[in-house]
Symmetry: C2
Subunit: 577 residues, 2 copies
């Protein structure tokens, strides 16, 4: 049997565009003589559509589009995800054949944790489903359905399914692909069935979908693996009889009394069976990327999709001569091409000549347009206008922030004038502890490194510099001690612990929700832990006004981590009183 | 039987502070010789705790606090909401008596729509519960449990409960209190039981809880009604035997076969029965506020709680001479007292002398401190610094936004210098269509009018001006045609439809999720509808970076309305193709 997994990049809400893409891939699958072609979860609507799902007319538009797609499906079976509007709303998989919707399977497990809000929108489906295709039985599942052992996949396998299809929109974080592959291998072995997993690819606001579609056989052996971070039609041949044979050998595979009988739709009457005869089992097997390359490519796709799907011609960012803006510029140039990236160099009296010169070298290395604007006249004007209200006060954070906000204003002025998207350059470590200026360096529409801890920023910079014969990022930028350069001789370590310690604490506190005492028991210094926790908690109001950024860790700020601003929970020994 | 409903204002995460307040109210209830005292949903933890609920140590701190509260409960029964950490996490009601937790009821209906995410955190409880208190049977429910007819309240009533207690954290929007009262009257009649509803009061980020606790008898007659928007211990006497008598008369009240038997906890052994003998049924009956006063008081409490719970001494806002900043200043002065409010008047060359003079008069009328800062030197400095990049372009939105951002910077400079909270002054109509400047007039920590449509801004201003002998807001501010004053002779109506039409479209599109065709069928002009929808959809990226504001309508921006930024769904006739 020949399968085609259409790992496509659709856009939320773009029902017409998504439909056109699905039809295009249907045509390509037909050319490849696939018998079954599989599209991702909610391929018609995009994922996640969020509160668009509360709009009846959005659901209706999706349904009309599905019916149009169905008319194109002749001589093959297409499995397409869509938001189904029946007596309630379901996250469904449509079985298309003979020009019509032949059956619908409704997702049974609706994730409502982390970045997911599916129980806000969908009703739970209540029955497993299988389809018969030319003598082969295929079980149907949607994303979360397959993450835990058991139904619906187990019921479908026990009802005879030799292939379990899973259509997904499974968000990326580093290492997730490998984790998913291990899980799918286990599910194939659990069910003694092929598993064909087709995942979405592309960026959607904070979320990134990595593709990495997979087919594994009943022994958990890899049959095909799709590329990461790009669209692909993965065509592969399987031999479902090997699953049957394995079951005959395995005593486990006996229907228990309490199995739920799936709904069965027999499509055996397909009137144009493909002429192809499979000669061997197999398909393309993309090699998974190493972690630094993986994250770098994730950032490129996340940025490119945000920019393109929102219709921006060009992006703009401030280059400070620091490593964060340098890496952001590299990602932008790699993702969009140098001609779609502009930068601004905006020295203040506290900027060292060396950092400014490094910033210019980087812009030249990347061949991106450069604007130069001096902060001094603006700082003087603010000093003048604020001289009354500030009379008798010492210069401090207020004055430092003014510099950052002038830079934010200048970037936004260019953005408003030319219609370019401003990229922010802050990293996750800074966002965590609030070492950022609201409306200053946080001003912009998209935060490329928002979920990238500082220690990973270094690794990614080394990775990028290792790609060519010469380092793109001037080595001095990578080697210099980090500084916001908002006052003379400022260093990040004046205000923050060293980044390796900081990132270790943040990973435990932010990503793992560990408490103070647990961190201290892990050997982290008590005073640093207390300070970092205080900083993280106090910065919630800043993060609430931050632009979206690309989730690349198991827990990102934003929809993934929802903490109140007004929050008097204080971790500390008093907690034990 | 004497009930006390402790309608208190707790703070999310402030386990120690909330516990102290609960103990204080327990003491007051004991003084009033109440037999049963009722606290709101999650009173120990605050509502909603959001992802604090993912922290085991937060749950454990709450449990220790509950046990401390229990030790104080002697000679009475206290019903207290808390987040229960058992084999899973539950939104629970603890029954405290004789110094211990005697029983726990777990919320059975977990709202996961609108502003609610309870299925993210809690597991569903699986059994109704009643308690016996000195011969009276009391059924237990938590918030959502009682909004639909049927279990658990119906099961509890059929098991003999003469009183159904509901502990709530029911968020406010205008008119919600009256709607809730109608619902509770119906539930009392459904169950032929007293309903005693104790609601949280206070502001929590975007949400406001309005108090308005209620006791109604089995005929739906009002027994007691708490105040709106303030803490109160509502003590009232009821006669549970009237519910028994009504049931004897009513054939409906026959247990059906499928009733689920509630868990029963008999507390009859209370060793210090109160000496009080009820002489008549009844309690205080606060008169509900008229709608404009209700919303005005809601804004005052929402602002006061945000400011106080986040530890700000003072707030600051820009006074433009327009009606939005004028109303915001009134709310701030009324909520916090004039000495905790400062304003800045920041004229640009496009500001008319009349608006500036009105702004000063308003500040004088409110007796709030005033800063004066001129924009001209700053605008000149930006012109100079941007002269290169802007060469050959026409002045437009970029230049207008610079003025708004200078004002934002000046306010933030004062905020950073003195530690004051900046209030933004934009209204819901502006936020809807993006008629605001990101990092400009949107710069600030809290948006008092963020959910108040412009037409309601006018009504509230008239309401406030009608309170004293002389209008606080200079009449010219109320009468003048709205203008952002960012270019000569600018009027809001240059860019937007008249506000009465705009607000009608926004209510249908934003709050009711109606589609384009539905709006046109309602008689709204097609071209205006199309333009407004386009503006609303395109402004999502701005709203994502807006500060929180107080929800006062059925659907506010923020957690209540979750739309993607990247969203190509376009409403229009093409939708029908």
């Amino acid at each position: 049997m020949r399968l085609a997994l259409a790992q496509i990049d659709v856009t939320v809400g773009d029902v017409d565009g998504n439909t056109a893409k699905i039809r295009d891939y249907l045509g390509r699958a037909a050319e490849a003589r696939a018998q079954v072609v599989i599209f991702p979860e909610l391929a018609i609507n995009g994922y996640p559509p969020e509160d668009l799902l509360l709009k009846t007319h959005f659901l209706e538009a999706g349904r009309r589009a599905l019916d149009r797609v169905a008319r194109d499906v002749q001589g093959m079976v297409a499995l397409v995800g869509f938001a189904e509007h029946a007596e309630d709303v379901y996250n469904s998989l449509a079985v298309l054949a003979d020009g019509q919707v032949q059956a619908v399977y409704r997702k049974m497990f609706l994730p409502n944790y982390g970045v997911f809000d599916e129980q806000r929108y969908f009703q739970v489906g209540d029955a497993p489903a299988v389809i018969g295709v030319g003598g082969t039985t295929i079980g149907l599942t949607v994303c979360e359905d397959i993450w835990e052992p058991g139904p619906p996949a187990s019921d479908e396998a026990l009802a005879g399914a030799e292939v379990i299809v899973n259509i997904s929109a499974s968000p990326y974080h580093h290492g997730k692909g490998a984790q998913r592959e291990r899980m799918l291998v286990q599910r194939a072995r659990d069910s003694l069935a092929y598993v064909a997993f087709c995942n979405l690819v592309g960026g959607q606001d904070e979320l990134l979908f990595d593709g990495y579609s997979l087919v594994v056989d009943q022994d958990g052996e890899l049959v095909a693996r799709g590329a990461q971070f790009r669209e692909e039609l993965i065509v592969c041949d399987i031999d479902p009889s090997t699953a049957d044979a394995a079951r005959l050998r395995d005593a486990r595979h006996r229907p228990a009394a309490r199995v739920r009988r799936p709904a069965v739709t027999d499509l055996g009457r397909l009137d144009a069976p493909p002429r192809h005869e499979a000669t061997a089992v197999g398909g393309p097997r993309a090699k998974p990327l190493e972690v630094d390359e993986e994250v770098y490519e994730a950032l490129c796709l996340g940025l490119r999709d945000y920019v393109d799907k929102n219709g921006f011609e060009r992006v703009l960012l401030g280059l400070s001569g620091g490593i964060d803006s340098a890496l952001t510029a590299c990602v932008a140039a790699d993702a969009l091409g140098s001609d779609r990236v502009a930068c601004a160099v905006m020295p203040s009296p506290h900027s060292s000549p060396a950092t400014q010169s490094d910033a210019r070298t980087l812009a030249d290395n990347l061949a991106i347009d450069r604007f130069e604007m001096r902060l001094e006249p603006l700082m003087a004007a603010y000093d003048e206008v604020l001289s009354g209200p500030f009379k008798g006060t010492e210069a401090g954070v207020a004055e430092e922030n003014i510099q950052a906000r002038i830079r934010g204003n200048l970037l936004m002025a260019l953005s408003n004038k030319f219609g370019w998207l401003v990229l922010t350059t802050g990293n996750k470590s800074e966002y965590s502890v609030g070492y950022t200026t609201l409306y200053g360096d946080m001003a912009g529409g998209f935060g490329v490194l928002k979920d990238v801890p500082k220690t990973l920023v270094y690794r990614l910079s080394h990775y990028r510099n290792g790609l060519g014969r010469h380092p793109v990022i001037p080595p001095a930028i990578v080697e210099r001690a980090p500084s916001a350069e908002l006052r003379p001789d400022q260093r990040d370590t004046d205000s923050l612990p060293p980044y390796d310690l900081l990132d270790a604490i943040l990973e435990a506190y932010v990503e793992e929700d560990q408490g103070r005492d647990q961190l201290i028991r892990r050997g982290m210094p008590e005073d640093v832990v207390d300070r970092v926790i205080r900083l993280v908690d106090a910065a919630e109001y800043k993060r609430r006004q931050a632009p979206p950024g690309i989730k690349i860790t198991p827990k990102a700020f934003g929809r993934d981590r929802r903490l109140p601003i007004t929050n008097r929970f204080r971790e500390g020994p008093s907690d034990q009183a």
